[in-house]
Subunit: 316 residues, 2 copies
């Protein structure tokens, strides 16, 4: 892999007119509860409601005019799809989106609102990939993979650049890991800018392939992903795994109840809408999976697309 800081910085310049520089929130009560200082990078406040805007926009605006004219295509559980549809609309090109049929309604509506052309498929990795490959054959669109595409990884790495501009002296960065696009960009940007900074990946124990792969030294595919964190029900990608092995200090897992409790606490305290996947790094703090006392900790709140009719604490 040749992803490096220069590519991430170039991505930052390229996407700057099209994305939001998201705020970093803090809260005295959350700090008091953990003994550290927490800095929440609010990627849920991106216009598409997720950091995915960064990578998708970088991919779309990296294309030549000839490539762009045929459109872009992807498969995604939702946020990358919306982000790609929005970026394509900004460039005036079509976006072909393959989504699993069990995607939350809020995420499907989100893609539609940006003019994405949706094809639903069975909720398996194989069905997603096959359906998308067929569409690429038929349309000539450029495939923009949600996490193995280097342009996508470079774009995702721009969030931590902004976080370190706002809070230069972080000790730790906590980043959720699903396919590993955000993690790859984050780890390379953070470690290159500040070699002493430690980067930890966090994932649901119920979709703990990254932790298992990290220990094993090779990718252990996810066979079952019974987690509520729908954005993280993905096996880590091969290039993402390689970057994780080299640049990430550790991978920890959190419980399902911990994710829901962390999510609710963020809503009540920070007054923002964070989706289950986005609450995963904070769950690592509340479940004490990572020692944060006395440390300055950056947490990437990845997204806020939630079905308000199916909140996890109102199931009874």
């Amino acid at each position: 892999m040749s992803l490096d800081l220069a590519k991430i910085e170039a991505a930052h310049e390229r996407i700057r007119p099209h994305i939001r520089r998201t705020p970093v929130l803090t809260h005295a009560a959350l700090d008091a509860a953990c003994g550290g200082q927490l800095f929440f990078k609010c990627e849920n406040l991106q216009e598409v409601g997720a950091f995915k805007a960064r990578g998708a926009t970088n991919a779309v605006f990296s294309l030549s005019d000839a490539e762009a004219a045929r459109g872009v295509a992807t498969h995604s559980s939702g946020n990358h799809a919306a982000a790609l549809a929005r970026a394509a609309r900004l460039r005036g090109i079509p976006a072909y989106i393959v989504m699993p049929s069990n995607s939350p309604q809020a995420k499907i509506r989100n893609v539609e609102s940006y003019g994405g052309r949706i094809t639903l498929c069975a909720p398996t990795q194989q069905a997603r990939e096959e359906t998308c490959a067929r569409i690429v054959r038929e349309t000539g669109a450029v495939m923009v993979h949600p996490f193995t595409d280097e342009r996508v990884m470079a774009g995702q790495g721009t969030a931590v650049i902004e976080l370190l501009e706002d809070v230069p002296d972080l000790d730790l960065v906590l980043c959720p890991v699903g396919g590993g696009g955000l993690l790859a960009g984050t780890a390379i940007a953070a470690k290159t800018l500040r070699s002493a900074l430690r980067v930890f990946a966090v994932e649901p124990a119920a979709a703990g392939d990254a932790a298992e792969s990290f220990r094993a030294g090779h990718i252990v595919p996810l066979t079952q992903a019974a987690t509520i964190a729908d954005g993280l029900r993905t096996t880590i990608g091969a290039p993402n795994f390689a970057i994780m092995q080299r640049h990430v200090d550790g991978v920890v897992t959190v419980s399902e109840s911990g994710i829901v409790a962390a999510m609710r606490q963020l809503w009540e305290t920070l007054h923002i809408v964070v989706e289950t996947s986005g609450a995963v790094p904070y769950a690592a703090v509340t479940e004490k999976k990572i020692e944060v006392a006395g440390k300055r900790v950056g947490l990437i709140l990845t997204g806020g697309n939630v079905d308000l009719d199916a909140l996890p604490w109102s199931k009874s």
Copy 2:
């Protein structure tokens, strides 16, 4: 009344170390839906979850050491109470808080979390005032009224100063009105800084005393307030009414269903937690009570303290 821009600017300097400069959010889809450009000043992202942090902090830090030593007292439906408790803790003095017994649990917990000493009373204006007067007699605490106190109004006016720094060329500002503390500070600051700017007050039709008073030319007390917007169930204060008569361009009312729909749309689109009262100005846009097409419109999202177990769209 002698509230003027100089006092509001002095308040801004005084409270700057203790409050958050809140972000201004925008969203292309919300703009497209109304034909205007909307700028949401996110006071729900204050650490206490409401703009009330501004006025309460200004009041507490305006006190002499001798005054401060006896503590502060107030009656409030919640957000002012939490804000005063927090400001008092920052100064190291007690805060005596009288709250109606039907306050949302989230607001009571919020006050407790800042060390406020709570006394519950019957949910009437009279009970609130009598209980608070008794506590002031017993403790010698300084009463900080939630909206008629000039120091409070000055503090509340600092939000629109920041909004106009970030978005200088606004045409309109929409501000909710309950007791009128925010409205008074906002109108004086906005009109003094930019005389061409129009300021509109928005309130629930089910608590429409400000609109009725504005038309009548004298205060028409609220006899019933059956609105879901619990922060606005208050008759406008006398000094607030005088400022409104002189500096506000109009008062419009919105429906209960409009408030809930606006609130939900803000959650889903901006990915922030806004309480019912905070969604009221946006309801004036969605219900077309104010013409915004082609205009640049500032909306003050006043608060985000919500009981997540009792969301208004999950009542069935």
